[in-house]
Amino acid sequence: MSRVQATTVMPPVHDADPFAAEHLEHPEPLHQQLREAGPVVRLSRYGVHALARYQEVHASLVDWQTFQSGAGVGLANFRHEKPWRAPSLLLEADPPHHDAPRRVLREALAPPALRRLRDVWQEAAEDLLDNVLAERGEDFDAFDALAKAFPLRVFPDAVGLGPDGRANLLPYGNMAFNAFGPVNDLVKSDAPRVADLSAWVNAQCAREALSEDGFGARIWAAADRGELTQQQAPLVVRSLLTAGVDTTVHGLAAALYAFATHPGEWQRLRERPELARVAFDEAVRWQSPVQTFFRTATTDVEIAGARIPEGTKILMFLGSANRDPARWSDPDSFDLTRDPSGHVGFGMGIHQCVGQHVARLEAEALLTALARRIERIELTGEPRRHLNNTLRSWASIPVRVRTAR
């Protein structure tokens, strides 16, 4: 850290709306423009600064002291705008408030805590695939039948949710991830359901609504040991329900889309199924299911000579950082021989995705099951995106598979 340098430069200005449909649909051209414009770009439309290069995105993700989350990680600045719901105790909190919820969730979702799920999820993936092939044959929508179906089958059970109302999970997440953007048509079209979806989700966070052996129960047990307050516990459960469903659905969809369009890489995975974990992270790098998050400057800060005043919102383009040619060679290709380590698709630093091991375990289960049974997977039509202000989402990925004989 050092004091502000003698000369500060004005960052270049760009008037694009990164939340406009055309950019949500195809974010890469805008990302390239922003990366080329400079290390910091001012987005005149929203009066925010943007970081699109790997180096600056990584540096600001880890520097929680200078770039806070507590004023919201969306466009709205909680210092003077009212959040649409009680802020998250993890995502939208800074130390010291962030510490206890983070610790509890980290322990509940750590790799050793997930060991007992590995076999269960592996079996669930194989079972799901058997059913899909039996019921739908070799032509189906991979988004619907696999990417969406698998997390919805295993994750709510692992949290300990009851059987009713699970169809609310995806729309709720979709709404929450839209809410990080501006109040555009996407947010407006969610508005009629905010009240009922929120009421359902909040009801599921209560101790009584959760089974005794899931992630949710572990959070409540931590509250009973005094590691969280009784008021915090339901909000920590809510984090799982908000952040743990849509993300993995579109993350798995990214991996399926990647393989359906890269037959050579599919063969590579079939030959070496132990590549499943790396393959999933490469898909997360390549598609970046979580495209963007904001931070707020806690002080006047200087990035590469450009001064950002205290209180300013800063938009970090994770998806762009993950394809920055200064960091990745041939960044636009999906390539299993690449080492995707260090990608920022799960963030970095104290807010780095606390569910990343859960996401990887789901992916490993599904991809290994597929690699075992499916010889070829290819598109049979144009895949369709679903637009969301934050998530790079899908509506459909029509495929034909050939099962191994």
Partner: protein, 335 residues
Amino acid sequence: MPLMGVDTVVVQSLLPTASQPSPSTVTLEVRSKHVVADGVVSLTLAHPDGVRLPDWTPGAHIDVVLPDGTARQYSLCGDRWDPYSYRIAVLRVPEGRGGSAYVHDQLALGARVGVGGPRNHFPLVPAERYLFIAGGIGITPLLSMLRQAQMTGADWQLLYGGRSRASMAFREELTECHGRRVQVAPQDECGLLDLAAWLSEPAPGTKVYCCGPAPLLAAVERACVGWPPYSLRTERFTAAAADPVRRAPFQVELRRSGQTVTVTRETSVLQAVRQAGVEVLSSCEQGSCGTCLTPVLEGTPDHRDSVLADHERAANDCMLPCVSRSRSARLVLDL
């Protein structure tokens, strides 16, 4: 919260890139060393290249590796809003096993020292009120807790005992900053801490944090028997000695790929494995995210991460190769 006295901060970009692996944070340099009380020195440690150190929370400690390869745990007592340095304070223990004598007598300004962690077995849990009880050097983990308690708006008090005023580190800055919240009770003036007066009435909603010598902990535990469960949290300075770590190079066998690599002091296990062309997914490369977790089939790892709990470490069946090393001459990994 802005850094004190700094108008504008410049974001540094000391970052791992494809060609340049992230600098390992397991060797730090002594940047300052001061006597802060009779028999107590405070040290500031930083990375030789000035990069950010792994984040920590109040109550955390680091392992400091001594020249004989054994490690000692010292609580972090600095400012976590400064990501570039760690502060520890060490009491000379004449009858100890040599850790404090080494830190006092030999660990000079500019010296390099092996470090593991940070890890936290003594986290500050949320509460409306805290009662902190420190005995002597037991003040160290509590120091950063006080500041956090202040920030969350909790009501708190510190009862700080020690042999004599002169032996009590940070006494002046504590009373200056916090005034009536801090009660300093040197034994030669006030006798033993009057725990009965402080603890006889259980106070629901209050958490008691105590760190100090074993007799103090035992007394506080006795005084708190009538308190609601989980009211009391203690940390004891344990003397449990671990096997020495290796300074010499070691061999890592990658069982599945049938290769063996040598890991010297200059590289991490992760780097050595990658150089052999074997993929290991990683992310933070600081031992804090858990991404590089790798099963260990044979040998004893030298755990330096912030991820695994004690019982998971003791099982020695997995490790975080981005920071952890080996105690045995050979490690066999399931890679």
